[in-house]
Symmetry: C2
Subunit: 344 residues, 2 copies
């Protein structure tokens, strides 16, 4: 168990190191106004802290640096949730100012704002589009052989995709199809669309359309394809700004990982509610072993959830980022829910 004084010293070491990126020595600690002990005393405590694994030396006679265990202890036990400084709160609020009617736009802005405020990289997952429900279908012919299919969802999201028209199709058939689709499938969630199309709409479509097979098969493909969760980045390049990263090779690996959307599930605890901190080698990917990731979830309405994540060096300003994410997650939940509910 850690004594009161050891706690104090550990906290000072971590706070100092987070700020300065320099190993912190006993003399330096002793000089701080909140420390009333001589360097020698501090050294003794530091030796103990090191023995217990909370801090490390970079070389035999260097100052101390927090270990991963140290950071872990810090975020688990020493992060009394604070109020966001007013300045940050104001900035953060600006995301929701102006006539912001679109979920995606708000999320995009949030990503920007987060990376600006923290100088780290932010990753925001939008609420799962597949849970949005169909508000309206329409099909707009472009040429003899192509048309664009449009799905508007209840959230105001618009999916659109050009698809080939079967040759010599009757324009009236297209209109019929759109009407039937709207009739039968409005209110259906996007991920159910395919199944429901088969189950319910198919019969009726077949009755009413001359060339049922051709038209529907080509149209259906457009429905199943993308519909992934949207990912929004902020400050991808901020990694370059961190003095912690100087090894070009490591930077490359890191960037590759972050950039590849398919790696995201590995570095983000997708689906987890609440606030999570992953430190250094706790990350699944070795490319991220010098990074920490802080995530928070938000909700939109009852069902949909999204994720906010900050990727930075292990020497990240945990206190600040945690408070920021906590606040933003609340704000997003509130504002986005208000939005789909159609409140003022």
């Amino acid at each position: 168990m850690l004594t009161e004084r050891q706690l104090l010293i550990l906290k000072v070491i971590i706070d100092d190191y987070i700020e300065s990126a320099q190993p912190v020595g006993s003399r330096h600690i002793s000089k701080r106004p909140d420390i009333a002990y001589s360097p020698a005393t501090v050294r003794n405590e530091m030796a103990d802290l090191e023995e217990m694994g909370y801090i490390e030396k970079t070389h035999t006679s260097s100052g101390r640096v927090p270990s991963e265990k140290g950071y872990r202890y810090y975020v688990d036990h020493m992060l009394t949730p604070r109020q966001l400084p007013k300045e940050d709160a104001v900035q953060l609020q600006s995301v929701f100012r102006d006539r912001m009617n679109e979920t995606e736009e708000i999320i995009r802005r949030s990503a920007m704002m987060l990376s600006e405020l923290t100088n780290y990289t932010s990753i925001l997952l939008g609420p799962d589009v597949r849970k949005h429900t169909v508000r309206k279908f329409s099909i707009v012919p472009l040429t003899n052989s192509t048309a664009v299919a449009i799905i508007v969802t209840d959230s105001g999201h618009v999916e659109n995709r050009v698809f080939p028209l079967p040759e010599g199709i009757n324009p009236a058939d297209i209109e019929k199809m759109v009407n039937i689709l709207n009739d039968k499938l409005t209110g259906v969630a996007l991920h159910e669309l395919h199944r429901r199309l088969e189950q319910e709409a198919a019969v009726i479509l077949r009755q009413h359309l001359d060339r049922y097979g051709d038209l529907v098969s080509t149209f259906r493909e457009t429905l199943v394809s993308p519909l992934e969760e949207k990912v929004f980045y902020g400050g991808k390049l901020n990694i370059l700004k961190q003095p912690d990263f100087h090894d070009l090779q490591k930077i490359r690996n890191l960037m590759d990982v972050i950039d590849e959307t398919r790696h995201l599930p590995l570095i983000l605890p997708v689906g987890n509610e609440g606030l999570h901190v992953t430190i250094g080698s706790e990350n699944a990917l070795t490319a991220m072993e010098d990074c920490s990731v802080i995530t928070a979830s938000y909700r939109v309405g009852e069902e949909q959830t999204g994720l906010i994540a900050i990727v930075g060096p292990k020497r990240m300003d945990y206190k600040r980022v945690v408070t920021l994410l906590d606040t933003l997650s609340g704000d997003l939940t509130r504002e986005l829910t208000r939005l789909i509910r159609g409140g003022a």
Copy 2:
């Protein structure tokens, strides 16, 4: 004027240096099968070439490196346009395979492909959306107070934007407005939309709508806003792969510049037809002074033009990139034009 032999040596130096990134020495040149002279002779010629400013030394007794003047001469006089190697051609063609119906998707793919083939960064500007013409308007109400406005263009591009509905608006009025808009403004180019709305549609709208002012004013805003040219990047991180870039500070500046869409007009000769090569300090921005930019334009139909650009180190494989861009620009022009014409 350069002698035959000086030309040969200059070419060898540049080609070798492009491949190896190492200063090339007289001995090395003399060993090549296409060089029949001793190192001493080569040295003499090199001294002349250096005097004329085509090559440089990195230090007193190093091999030679092409100067910017050297590269310039190389691209201006020594780039006999070649056929694309079959392997590359096949790869490039794959961009147009599969049912690719959407201009944007094709361009996105092209960007990817280019960066993959070259290991440099590619930037593609889509054809100016503002020149697309309206195929269809529609408005889909979402809640009591919001609706999404949708514009489909002749290219299959879909612009959509959520906008606030005036309180207590009559749904019939919305429908009326959409009908009038479609009636009056179909076929109008997006950049003319605002003006034409005022000139032609306004009068009629005013006659038919109870709450003309409210509805139109809030809807109009959604028309004027974005509609910029779309920018597609490929391999933004490829810069990190180039051995030429090792200075972290420079990399940061460079990335900043490339990332900022508003800097693009400065580094790309927007609007210029044909193929352009900008070498090192010929670039407008000092952050780019170690880079070369190769651009080519493409057309879609008669009016619209787009731009392909490759950003790489000065030590770029000009021959290959020029051929690639030349081919791709032709392919894009052909395929995209075919697309909007609705040919098979």
